[in-house]
Symmetry: C2
Subunit: 267 residues, 2 copies
């Protein structure tokens, strides 16, 4: 037979990749049955069965009356990740405060592999529960169409932004989404100057948000905070002055907290 391993491709454990794919599939299609998974997974029934049994043993998957779901082990492990993330420890209380001040949704996010992940979310009194917000935390989001994302991008160097565009594209989420790279670069420059980014129905129709970057000790961006609300509640002075001020203040306080957090950890 041919030497199927690529000459200089580094070695990987194929079974782990397979398991990862199975988990991703379970996450994507919620509540799949055994059959659903077999269809989607080009592997024989027997193989899929053995993987699922193993993942169930390990707590990564739960089977209940024929349907598979991700197991509670992800809850505890996700919690560990958050608690070990400096930004979360430094920002959590401040995000709660900002949510109270504005009465709206506040998000704390980090960039990860060209997308962003929500580390914490706090809901002010006006913010009604929305399925959208739930789903948003279930998968990494694009950076080019959120206020936090653009706030972070504005402090990456140009080549890094270009790489991200190449890899992720500039998906048109709404008619306001920026889909032209040069347009994006111009806006990033403006964001850098004014210190905050706005998202004017670029991600979701009817929703605006304002985000500011959080820079770490070394000057690198380590995350961003944002306030999100329906267009009707976020316009005029409030949209262009008040909220941006509050968001930037919060970001600044988190930056300071972050320095002491990191300092204490390295002590």
């Amino acid at each position: 037979m041919d030497d199927s391993r690529q000459a200089d491709a580094p070695r990987r454990i194929k079974s782990v990749q397979t398991a990862s794919e199975i988990l991703a599939t379970i996450q994507r299609r919620s509540d799949p049955t055994f059959g659903d998974l077999c269809d989607e997974l080009d592997a024989s029934k027997g193989t899929v069965h053995t993987y699922l049994a193993t993942l169930e043993d390990e707590g990564f998957v739960v089977k209940s009356d024929g349907h598979y779901r991700l197991g509670f082990r992800f809850v505890t492990m996700g919690e560990t990740v958050r608690n070990e993330t400096d930004l979360y420890r430094a920002g959590q209380l401040e995000v709660d405060k900002l949510a109270e001040q504005t009465s709206e949704y506040v998000h704390l996010t980090v960039s990860y592999r060209g997308k962003e992940v929500t580390m914490y979310e706090s809901r002010g009194d006006n913010a009604i529960a929305m399925d959208y917000h739930l789903r948003m935390r279930e998968a990494p989001q694009y950076l080019h169409c959120t206020s936090t994302g653009k706030a972070m991008l504005s402090h990456f160097n140009e080549s890094r932004v270009r790489d991200i565009i190449d890899e992720q594209g500039l998906a048109e989420q709404t008619e306001n989404t920026i889909t032209d790279p040069e347009h994006l670069f111009r806006e990033l420059e403006q964001i850098r100057e004014q210190g905050y980014a706005i998202n004017d129905e670029e991600e979701l129709r009817g929703m605006r948000s304002i985000g500011a970057p959080i820079r770490g000790v070394d000057g690198d961006v380590s995350g961003a905070v944002s306030v999100t609300a329906p267009t009707s509640r976020l316009s005029g002075e409030r949209f262009h002055t008040e909220i941006p001020e509050l968001v930037m203040q919060a970001a600044n306080i988190i930056e300071v907290n972050l320095e002491t957090t990191v300092f204490e950890r390295n002590r």
Copy 2:
């Protein structure tokens, strides 16, 4: 060589078990280096290396300056699990309310494999941030020494409780922890009668809590809520009447929400 597979042991994927063990080790020892992992993992350096590279590719692990941590993928997957858990959807708002009413920590937990996992936590104004609470959500906890745990146990049938005791033991967390099975059974009966459970410094010195079970449509326990506070703030009337009332009310409302949630999902 001998036929190493056990005659009637069901088949599993060994590589997935190995990967799971590596992840557990990273979680247990925070920030381990490559060397740390090799010591702890009886596998050759080369093997450990290949696994870590694979897990990093898949987003389950992050390497930064020589230290390994769990990756952000756990955050998004954990979020998916929570959002798909009926109890969380049904109970979240009610837990927030209870936290506001009492000004203390409120927990929403589910039982899982003889232990309990915190699905949601809300902090009232009096509740100061404590490392203890962070860590508590990072691993499943024992059922016999928490108010939520005992509340859930009180509605399991006896043989199930015995199985859990056999498997998990009755670890003595403080001098107040119940370590005698018969003592536990007597208390569970009392809990069943009065409708709520108390934890009087049985898990952690100086901390009391009050928990009530949440029963699902089919009568099975699907979780529990609790209020936790320092002994100084939880005594007398407040400990024996006021808070138990509030906790039981909250549990009851969540039960109702749960019915409609489940009903809507099955529609």
